[in-house]
């Protein structure tokens, strides 16, 4: 116990300041009509529900890292919740598999509006290496409307964070939203 207290006492705050260095090629925003009210509300408080629609769990590891002291998602007033009814942002990973297509749709319906959807990872964008597989229905945008796509296999936590923040920023100045395409190579390094 004393060792624990000593560690708590001697460990400084390790949270890194957020650096937005990613360009729009890596964070791809799809404009969707969202009212001004949602932007004002979410600017200070965002509750996120993670939906694994068939991911390999690579993205989940990176998303899990958002909760650690280094990235500390909570300082932006965001945190993960246990129920879609508590959420206003869905973080969807993976190519949508046949078994998860209906649960994903139902999760989207169970989420109270106004809501935003962030698709995380190459698989969520265009099914990645699983494209055309017999168990795969399609990308996330084939099932539910997507606001922001974060590319990468897997995208690093800072980029996922930038993606969520981009979804919030999008309402500030909708003209800054650019829809880009083309494959993004990202080795997961900073």
């Amino acid at each position: 116990m004393l060792a624990l207290w000593n560690k708590i006492w001697t460990t400084p705050v390790v949270t890194e300041p957020v650096v937005r260095t990613y360009d729009d090629a890596q964070i791809e925003a799809i404009a969707r009509q969202v009212d001004e009210r949602a932007r004002r509300l979410f600017g200070r408080s965002l509750h996120i529900r993670e939906v694994d629609a068939g991911s390999c769990n690579g993205c989940e590891l990176e998303i899990g890292a958002l909760n650690n002291p280094y990235y500390d998602l909570e300082r932006f007033g965001m945190h993960f919740v246990a129920s879609p009814r508590h959420a206003d942002c869905l973080l969807v990973t993976g190519p949508v598999t046949r078994n998860m297509a209906d649960p994903l749709k139902r999760t989207y319906d169970a989420t109270p509006g106004p809501k935003i959807v962030v698709a995380v990872g190459d698989c969520a964008r265009d099914c990645g290496i699983f494209a055309g597989g017999y168990g795969v229905v399609g990308p996330v945008s084939a099932i539910v409307p997507v606001d922001v796509v974060v590319g990468g296999c897997p995208p690093p936590p800072s980029m996922i964070l930038a993606g969520i923040l981009a979804a919030l920023d999008m309402r500030d100045n909708p003209q800054s939203v650019r829809s880009t395409d083309g494959p993004v190579s990202d080795d997961g390094a900073q």
């Binding site: 460990t11 200070r44 408080s45 500390d72 909570e74 932006f76 007033g77 246990a82 508590h86 169970a110």
Partner: protein, 314 residues
């Protein structure tokens, strides 16, 4: 008359507006102890404001209980705020009920919340309700015995009278019965308000949830009312702990100066208890569900010893 109404309005404001700040303080201190920066102190206000403006999705399989419970919870907490002596020992509406009434007001909320957990028919809701009832049934005897321990000392179950006796005779605070009753009541307060080591308010894991599992179905303004009520419950319990057991600074007479001193003293006492809870929650892990009876019967034993010690140490 006007003064009395004013005091009750101040009590309502302290409990209603102070609750989110208290929750924010506990979260902030925990974040710092974990080496994180954490959200600001005012974050819970932003959360509640957002929930209030959000759409409320209600399952079509639910009955009126689901929609009624959040209002009942908030109402019982606001009613408790009128009864609890926060600033003065002359709470205007204190005659409406003693500490026993207060505890059963809380239990009424718990009862309806467990019904609401069952209402939607989801597996997690039922699991949370069953656990909540198990914890409530175990905590109930401890609450009553701990209350009797301090009521015996004051010769009265009225909250105002207990505090007046404590403030009049500061040596009472050093009797073993008093300290034992404090420890018993503190453990029960943790259990009743769903804090570690009984329940983890920050968990995302449905399988370990107690309180959170019952409210999984709520959204929008209903969730806002439930979270607000949970914060108010925590604040009222901490206020009871600090005023019943450490009645320093509570205004014995109603003067503006005494009330101001009482307010500062209350804020400091509750702040210290909140920091204590944050430190405790950082240091201990959640207890396994089947270990909870041991913890709660331990607190029952402490409460019983407090009553027995009253018979020997007067």
């Amino acid at each position: 008359m006007l003064t009395q109404i004013l005091i009750e309005v101040i009590q309502l404001l302290i409990v209603g507006l102070g609750a989110p700040l208290l929750v924010g303080l506990v979260r902030r201190v925990k974040a710092r102890l974990q080496g994180r920066r954490g959200a600001g102190l005012l974050q819970p206000y932003a959360d509640l404001h957002k929930l209030l403006a959000q759409e409320a999705v209600v399952s079509e399989t639910t009955s009126w209980i689901c929609r009624f419970t959040p209002y009942l919870l908030a109402a019982t907490m606001l009613l408790s705020a009128l009864l609890v002596p926060l600033l003065t020992t002359q709470t205007p509406l204190g005659f409406l009920g003693n500490i026993i009434v207060l505890m059963y007001l809380f239990l009424l909320g718990t009862f309806f919340l467990t019904l609401a957990g069952l209402d939607a028919g989801s597996a997690f809701g039922g699991m949370g309700s069953s656990r909540e009832m198990a914890v409530a049934a175990l905590a109930e005897p401890t609450v009553m015995i701990a209350i009797f321990a301090i009521a015996l000392r004051a010769g009265n179950t009225g909250l105002d009278e207990i505090i007046r006796r404590g403030a009049a005779d500061s040596l009472l605070l050093l009797t073993p019965g008093h300290l034992l009753a404090f420890m018993a009541f503190f453990i029960v307060a943790l259990a009743e308000t769903g804090r570690l080591p009984v329940d983890n308010p920050a968990t995302h894991l449905e399988l370990t949830m107690i309180h959170e599992a019952m409210v999984l179905e709520y959204s929008g303004r209903y969730l806002m009312l439930i979270e607000w009520a949970a914060g108010m419950k925590l604040l009222i319990f901490l206020a009871l702990l600090s005023n019943l057991f450490f009645p320093w600074g509570v205004a014995l007479a109603i003067t503006p100066f005494a009330l101001a001193v009482a307010f500062v003293a209350l804020a400091m006492k509750i702040g210290a208890l909140a920091v204590g809870i944050a430190v405790l929650e950082t240091a201990v892990a959640k207890l396994r569900l089947f270990r909870l009876p041991a913890l709660l019967s331990g607190s029952f034993a402490l409460a019983l010893l407090a009553v027995i010690s009253f018979l020997f140490v007067k």
